[in-house]
């Protein structure tokens, strides 16, 4: 089945999200749609899937114009979609989730037998291992995504839309997904693959359509270089690998010894972990998501509750003290999720910039906030960190992902600190913001700070770090020099030393 869009336009007020977009995907073809966050990719796909209505334009299937007003229409025409945020009910089983909306009942009682057989068939065909009776909440995200794919296939999707499918996946899971996509393609399914990750596009796509600010700016084959694609996507030349100056190593700043973190049921999440970071170096933690990275970051500022061992900052023990003590002892902390842990969405930008200094002079005096100082501080920082906003009084939730991250960085790096902990600092950011964050982290290193970079992006780890610690199942497998090959690191991340 082939799908074609002609002149699709969608406006939100004065913003043109999609400007007369033409594109097509042939039978058994993988079309990558590449674009930065906010370029209009998701809006376009929501139109194809019937979640939003286009202002003008046509959708053609096998050359015939169709009208799609709802996801049910889309399914009827053989279009399936796997959303960036999964549409699964966590407390339901795999089979229950898959039949959701298409339940078959016998005398008023839900029957899942047929569905289970079908799930098995599809799973076998693509060599998935899936237990139809497992609860969704107990499954890793990679598996949850496969369930979404199975769901689309169950209802005979001939064109499958994958919206940023690798955003939540580990490098291994990503590779597995790419293999699944190839296998789907070989069986005749067309795939529209929406992403902003260049490596994946090159690995799997037959054709690449690049969208910038709601317009198609070019369509190329997978032979285009990453630099060419990035330039097309951003609209100007970009530096993908930051340049690192020579290292000036200082004295030891952080000393972690035998750090063990338990969850509330006593299971070990981090086991006997030891590491040092010196002033003037970036130590990167590489590893597949879920091997204890989040717990390590949280434990270092006393956010974890059940911790043993020792954490010394400039030879002073900070383990067991409050979060505030750890931060004020000289740690800047950029959490993994800026929306959840880094910012308060309904607070203004100015207020978010004083979140962890609100009761210190000069932000406050005698228990009272100094509005003037807070505003001055905000004006200074949004300039220094290039936060694009109309007003410092706007809610921080109105900012784009990149600008939100800049607010977090501005707050944390403007305090006087010796150790900078950043967790997944560029997740979900556009290329421009990624460049900014990378440069800023290198600046901190060159200014003699110790930096702990936790990232699941291997490129980022290799590009920025001086040393790399590989975390596997809560333990450090090894700490290696930056010149270690990608392949070797990949193997270590899978637990092979």
């Amino acid at each position: 089945m082939s799908l074609e869009l002609k002149g699709v336009t969608k406006k939100f007020g004065t913003l043109i999200a999609n400007d007369s977009i033409d594109l097509s995907v042939a039978n058994g073809e993988i079309l990558a749609i590449l674009g930065e966050n906010g370029a209009g990719k998701s809006t376009l796909m929501n139109i194809v899937y019937g979640l939003q209505e286009a202002d003008s334009g046509k959708i053609l299937i096998d050359g015939n114009e169709v009208v799609i007003n709802s996801p049910a229409d889309a399914l009827k025409h053989g279009i399936g979609m796997v959303h960036q945020h999964f549409m699964l009910v966590p407390v339901f089983t795999v089979a229950e989730n898959i039949v959701l909306g298409h339940e078959v009942s016998k005398r008023g009682k839900l029957t899942l037998d047929q569905a289970k057989v079908r799930i098995k068939e599809i799973a076998d065909e693509f060599k998935f291992e899936i237990d139809p009776d497992a609860l969704i909440e107990n499954l890793p995200v990679g598996i949850q995504q496969r369930i979404e794919i199975i769901r689309a296939l169950m209802y005979d999707a001939k064109v499958l839309i994958l919206d940023e499918p690798t955003a939540v996946l580990t490098p291994q899971e990503t590779d597995e997904l790419l293999a699944i996509m190839r296998s789907l393609k070989s069986k005749g399914t067309s795939i529209i693959f929406i992403t902003h990750k260049l490596r994946e596009v090159k690995a799997v796509a037959d054709r690449i359509t690049v969208i910038r600010r709601g317009k198609v700016v070019g369509t190329t084959g997978p032979t285009a270089t990453q630099e060419e694609l990035a330039t097309l996507m951003v609209g100007h030349n970009v530096v993908l690998t930051p340049t690192k100056s020579d290292q000036r190593l200082g004295q030891k700043v952080l000393e972690v010894r035998n750090l063990t973190v338990f969850d509330s049921s006593g299971r070990k999440l981090l086991n006997n972990l030891s590491l040092d970071i010196n002033a003037g170096e970036i130590l990167a933690i590489a590893g597949v998501q879920g091997n204890g990275q989040s717990e390590l970051a949280r434990a270092l500022i006393n956010l974890e509750e059940h911790v043993t061992g020792s954490i010394k900052l400039n030879s002073v023990e900070i383990l067991g003290r409050s979060v505030n003590d750890a931060l004020q002892a000289g740690i800047a902390y950029v959490p993994e999720s800026r929306e959840l842990d880094g910012l308060i969405g309904s607070f203004s930008i100015a207020e978010n910039l004083i979140l962890d200094t609100h009761d210190l002079a000069p932000t406050s005096k005698l228990g009272q906030l100094d509005r003037k100082r807070i505003e001055e501080n905000a004006r200074k920082l949004i300039k220094e960190f290039d936060v694009r906003t109309q007003s410092i009084f706007d809610n921080v939730s109105s900012l784009s992902g990149g600008n939100k991250q800049k607010v977090v960085l501005a707050r944390e790096l403007s305090r006087s600190v010796q150790l900078v902990i950043v967790s997944q600092p560029t997740r979900g950011l556009d290329v421009g913001s990624i460049e900014f964050v990378h440069e800023r982290l290198l600046q901190e290193r060159n200014a003699g700070k110790a930096v702990l970079l936790i990232s699941s992006e291997l490129d980022e780890v290799i590009g920025l770090s001086d040393r790399i610690a590989v975390l596997y199942r809560g333990e450090i497998l090894d700490i290696v020099e930056n010149n270690t090959t990608r392949e070797k690191l990949g193997l270590m991340m899978a637990g092979v030393k």
Partner: protein, 390 residues
């Protein structure tokens, strides 16, 4: 200035419409449940006249009972007519304090359903100090109020402590503590200490003259010092929420506890402190009520002040100014309801129907927006729903 108007409209429009719409529906119910009006159903002309007259008379009665009554002024001074509005203020006083208790909790991300119990505890403590001691007036009043604040502060603080230490949900705990308080007052009024010596009814001795809150507009009007206390406390709470660093912590925890924690704010401390202050506020309401109006503790001293406080806070959209305004509206409804009964024979319960309708319409912003065809721009964040995410 223009921004201020836009902001005000954004916050106040929805409660305003909800309030008016509730009155409209209330009026229709009054007319449709009236036997005389319904008797005329066969002749449409007369029916409509009677229908409208009934609604008009009812609302006039509420107005006369709560704001200004020409009949009272007739033959006497113009000011005598203001007696009803003074009564409204008397009813509003405890509602302001209890309403602030719920408002403050909302802002810190907590749902304090326990204002009723805290109100009762405050009233018990203030009454005890009031009748047990002979002191000089200023000191006696201060001591009695302080006792009310502390007793209910501890009662509320207990909820915060349990939540911080064990994760017990404040909604469940406060509901339970409301029962505890309403049975505790029944029991304590039977003890030797509290039961009035010459009485068989459960009523405590009247507080000594020195502990009574003075009526500062003369003895004709029951309006008492408690109103000024309530307004001063409201100003203090406004300062706490919007200017102080503690209030910043409260709001941060209320808006995103996880981010607040990551920024080094102790959510446990904030939860405890919030519930302590919330308890104190409701308890001060109880203390002021017993020292200013009733003067003697009875089993039904709490009335439904603590529950109305939730509506007041919701109608006031969890802002200090809004809460004061809503407390006065509710005070007016209460006093107006009484004259509704005496002047038009309409059951006073209709006031509760109107109150319930207000809550319903505020809780369903989509419905109001649909009815009045309002487009976006009006904020509809439902504060009440947040409490359950704990």
């Amino acid at each position: 200035m223009k921004n201020a108007i836009i902001k005000f409209r954004k916050v106040a429009l929805l409660p305003f419409l909800a309030f008016n719409f509730a009155f409209l529906i209330g009026g229709i119910i009054i007319a449709l449940t009236d036997a005389e009006v319904m008797a005329k159903i066969k002749s449409p002309g007369e029916f409509i006249l009677a229908f409208l007259a009934k609604i008009g008379n009812s609302f006039l009665a509420i107005f006369q009972g709560s704001i200004y009554d020409v009949n009272l002024a007739r033959g006497e001074s113009f000011f005598k007519g203001f007696y009803p509005i003074a009564e409204t203020a008397v009813s509003a006083t405890p509602l302001i304090l209890a309403g602030l208790s719920v408002t403050l909790a909302f802002r810190a991300g907590l749902f304090n359903i326990g204002a009723q119990g805290q109100f009762i505890m405050g009233a018990i403590a203030a009454s005890y100090i009031g009748f047990s001691f002979e002191l000089s007036p200023v000191i006696h009043v201060l001591l009695a109020l302080l006792a009310g604040i502390l007793a209910s502060g501890i009662y509320g603080g207990l909820v915060g402590f349990l939540k911080a230490k064990t994760g017990a949900h404040e909604v469940i705990v406060t509901i339970m503590l409301n029962y505890v308080a309403s049975f505790f007052i029944l029991w304590i009024l039977k003890t030797k200490t509290f039961l009035r010596p010459d009485s068989i009814n459960p009523i405590a001795p009247e507080v000594n003259q020195s502990a009574k809150l003075p009526q500062f507009l003369g003895s004709d009007l029951r309006i008492h010092l408690g109103l000024l206390i309530a307004l001063l406390v409201a100003a203090a709470i406004w300062w706490l929420l919007n200017v102080s660093t503690i209030g910043f912590k409260f709001r941060a925890v209320g808006a995103n506890a996880s981010a607040a924690k990551t920024a080094g704010i102790s959510t446990g401390q904030v939860t405890f402190l919030t519930m302590f202050i919330c308890g104190s506020l409701a308890g001060l309401g109880g203390a002021v009520h017993v020292l200013g109006v009733n003067h003697a503790l009875t089993a039904d001293i709490g009335g439904s002040y603590g529950f109305d406080a939730i509506t007041v806070a919701l109608l006031g959209r969890a802002t200090v100014g809004g809460t004061i305004f809503a407390a006065f509206l509710f005070g007016a409804l209460q006093t107006g309801g009484l004259s509704l009964l005496s002047n038009t024979g309409t059951p006073v319960e209709i006031v509760q129907v109107i109150q319930a309708l207000i809550v319903l319409f505020i809780a369903t912003p989509t419905l109001i927006k649909f009815i009045f065809r309002i487009k976006k721009e009006v904020s509809e964040s439902s504060l009440a729903a947040k409490g359950w995410n704990g």
